[in-house]
């Protein structure tokens, strides 16, 4: 160390200003890089494609008897691993202690946090509101699982070689098994919707174009359809009955509407 260095203070005013300048410049560049992207924001990650449809599901908790057929049909049709559930059943209770049956698929949020956080756009929202997964692109970082407010996302922790015990009793597999290391979730039986529309069918009306859980419900507690069609059953229920959605305060705008169970107070 030279004598000159020893004599100088650790930092003088000019050097301090230079550092401040460099830090300020860096911050400005960082902001400049971020702002153009932020300006586009209506929904952070944007939607892929336009659609005349807006698919929603209505679950009537006052009708549900807790048979779990919707769970079993989902396990079979989507070939979901036995220790995994896309469609969850839960015996819940109201604030007054009255039990009711709660089921929950993926809510296909209008503002899906999972799609916002995915670093590779492996999960994204289509114009018709469906939040879908690209299994070929997913890197398995699991940030979407961390960000989902509803615990709907499942990870393939190992390669599968199991027999599906729900087949063929509850239906047969209509989609391929997902590989090890990617995230998956309920799709609203997207394969049925897309194929059905091609064949001129109406999802929610024609069974071949309707999610398996809706078809199998013995009491008609689950309804599916197009919210953009005012004559659809789902649009009528939402217009006439009191409904609520899960964790609405987060602004995720789920596309699954619940008709409250008896004795349930909704805000």
């Amino acid at each position: 160390m030279s004598d000159k260095d020893k004599a100088s203070p650790v930092i003088n005013r000019r050097k301090f200003l230079e550092l401040l300048g460099a830090a300020g410049f860096s911050t400005a560049v960082a902001a400049a890089l971020t702002v153009p992207f932020a300006g586009r924001k209506a929904r952070a990650s944007g939607r892929e494609g336009e659609s005349e449809h807006h698919w929603v599901m209505v679950i009537d908790l006052s009708l549900c008897i807790g048979c779990q057929y919707c769970v079993y049909a989902c396990q079979a049709v989507n070939d979901v691993a036995t220790d995994m559930r896309w469609n969850v059943y839960l015996l819940d209770q109201t604030e007054t202690g009255k039990p009711f049956h709660m089921t929950r698929p993926c809510l296909h949020c209008q503002n899906p946090p999972c799609a916002d956080v995915c670093p590779v756009h492996a999960t994204y929202q289509r114009g018709d509101g469906l939040v879908v997964m690209d299994y070929e692109r997913c890197i398995g970082c699991r940030y979407c699982m961390v960000a989902c407010p509803y615990d709907v996302r499942r990870f393939n922790w190992e390669a599968r070689s199991d027999e599906n015990p729900y087949e063929p009793e509850w239906g047969s597999a209509e989609v391929e098994r997902r590989p090890r290391g990617v995230v998956e979730k309920c799709t609203f039986c997207i394969h049925r919707i897309d194929r059905g529309l091609e064949q001129g069918l109406t999802p929610g009306v024609d069974r071949a174009a309707t999610p398996a859980c809706v078809n199998i419900c013995p009491v008609g507690a689950r309804k599916f359809g197009d919210l953009n069609d005012p004559d659809s059953e789902v649009a009528r229920i939402i217009a006439t009955k009191p409904t609520f959605r899960l964790r609405e305060e987060l602004g995720t705008e789920p596309n699954v509407y619940y008709v409250p169970a008896e004795g349930m107070v909704i805000a």
Partner: protein
């Protein structure tokens, strides 16, 4: 080579082998061998990523100070800071390679951009900054005796060296971005009330500054004590301590207000419920107050800023170790606390779901130890065989 050094290196090699075996088990069987679940999908390895990146932060701070501010008295530690940065970031990448479900698709974020994902920004910055670190480190490698047989080496090293200020600016920019956005990774998750706050990105970068400089100081002081000679001037080490202490003070000030604003002066029900669950069922309260705040924050800050204390080698070494522990504890606590509190999505009663738990398994711990051993082994060998402390060679 002394017996102690041989034993140290032997032990580290053994741990690296344990890590390799663990890694093979993970790749062969999948992440099912970990203690992670669908509801606690991040754990020990994520805490390792965050910690090793934060402890590598000395590189960007000291590079900026030396090459932008031209404060040459810190030049003697710039190289070791860059080396520690390189080892920290490469450790994080090793852990990530195990942690992501599809390591064969590690390149996807570079090609398929989602500019709205904090994690995409983190990935891009980390990859670019790792490149910066590798270039900065290559000048050190080129000056090593091994490259003396290659005539062009000094010229290449000199050319690279001329770009150091450019690299320092790039490093400052990239580090400011990703050290903060690693905190934002948690801070933007609206679904989890314990995380969702704007203070996390700033807490992360300030604690990284304190932890990164502490790590550089710790390594330099320890090497000097073991070699029984000053590899850099003792005065430089004092100044590093002041730098670490100042960063720690800034971090603690923000931490005070973060705590006061989110828990003392306000009570959002969801946050209160989650916090009381943590306090009742986990050691979160103890680890937060004792390790993050007191032993890992206030105590090292006092040691760094009190001249009589920092001038004592053993006291300063202890202070650095405590600061590092505190910074690591913050990352562990943030990661785990946000995940083990269940998400009450059902309209029924809160506490319907029990607190979730996470216990790392043997392959997880094995890989964790292996990666740390890799960094320590590489550091030991680099200090022994590379001109990491350039001033020493000049005086010899």
């Amino acid at each position: 080579m002394s017996t102690a050094l041989k034993a140290w290196i032997g032990g580290l090699v053994a741990l690296v082998l344990v890590g390799l075996v663990s890694g093979i088990v993970v790749f062969a069987k999948g992440l099912v061998v970990t203690g992670l679940t669908d509801r606690v999908p991040w754990g020990l390895w994520i805490a390792l990523d965050l910690s090793s990146i934060s402890l590598g932060a000395g590189a960007f701070i000291l590079s900026a100070i030396v090459y932008l501010l031209n404060l040459r008295q810190f030049e003697s530690v710039a190289r070791v800071a860059v080396l520690i940065g390189f080892l920290g970031y490469s450790s994080a990448m090793l852990a990530l390679a195990l942690d992501i479900g599809r390591p064969d698709r590690f390149w996807h974020p570079l090609v398929y951009w989602n500019v709205h994902s904090v994690l995409w920004e983190v990935t891009m910055c980390v990859v670019l900054y790792f490149t910066v670190l590798a270039l900065e480190l290559s000048t050190v490698l080129l000056e090593s005796p091994f490259f003396e047989r290659w005539a062009a080496a000094p010229r290449v090293a000199h050319t690279l060296h001329q770009f150091t200020p450019v690299l320092a600016v790039a490093g400052l920019l990239l580090s400011l971005l990703h050290q903060s956005s690693l905190g934002a990774t948690y801070g933007v998750v609206a679904a989890r009330p314990l995380w969702y706050k704007p203070s996390l990105p700033v807490l992360f970068i300030l604690s990284a500054a304190a932890g990164g400089v502490s790590m550089t100081t710790f390594a330099t002081l320890l090497v000097s004590m073991l070699q029984r000679r000053w590899v850099v001037g003792r005065e430089v080490i004092n100044r590093l301590a002041i730098l670490a202490g100042s960063a720690m003070a800034a971090y603690l000030y923000l931490k005070l207000w973060d705590w006061a604003a989110t828990t003392y002066y306000s009570n959002i029900p969801a946050r209160e419920v989650g916090l009381s669950l943590l306090l009742q069922t986990t050691p979160y309260g103890e680890t937060f107050w004792w390790i993050e705040v007191l032993l890992g924050g206030i105590v090292p800050m006092i040691i760094f800023l009190w001249p009589r204390m920092r001038e004592n080698d053993y006291m300063l070494l202890l202070g650095c170790a405590l600061a590092i522990t505190g910074v690591v504890m913050l990352r562990w606590n943030v990661t785990i606390s946000g995940l083990v509190v269940p998400q009450d999505w059902s309209p029924g009663v809160a506490f319907l779901f029990p607190r979730l738990s996470y216990h790392p398994t043997l392959p997880e711990i094995g890989a964790f130890l292996g990666i740390i051993a890799y960094a320590l082994l590489a550091f030991t060998l680099a200090v022994r065989y590379l001109p990491v402390y350039p001033m020493v060679r000049e005086t010899e």
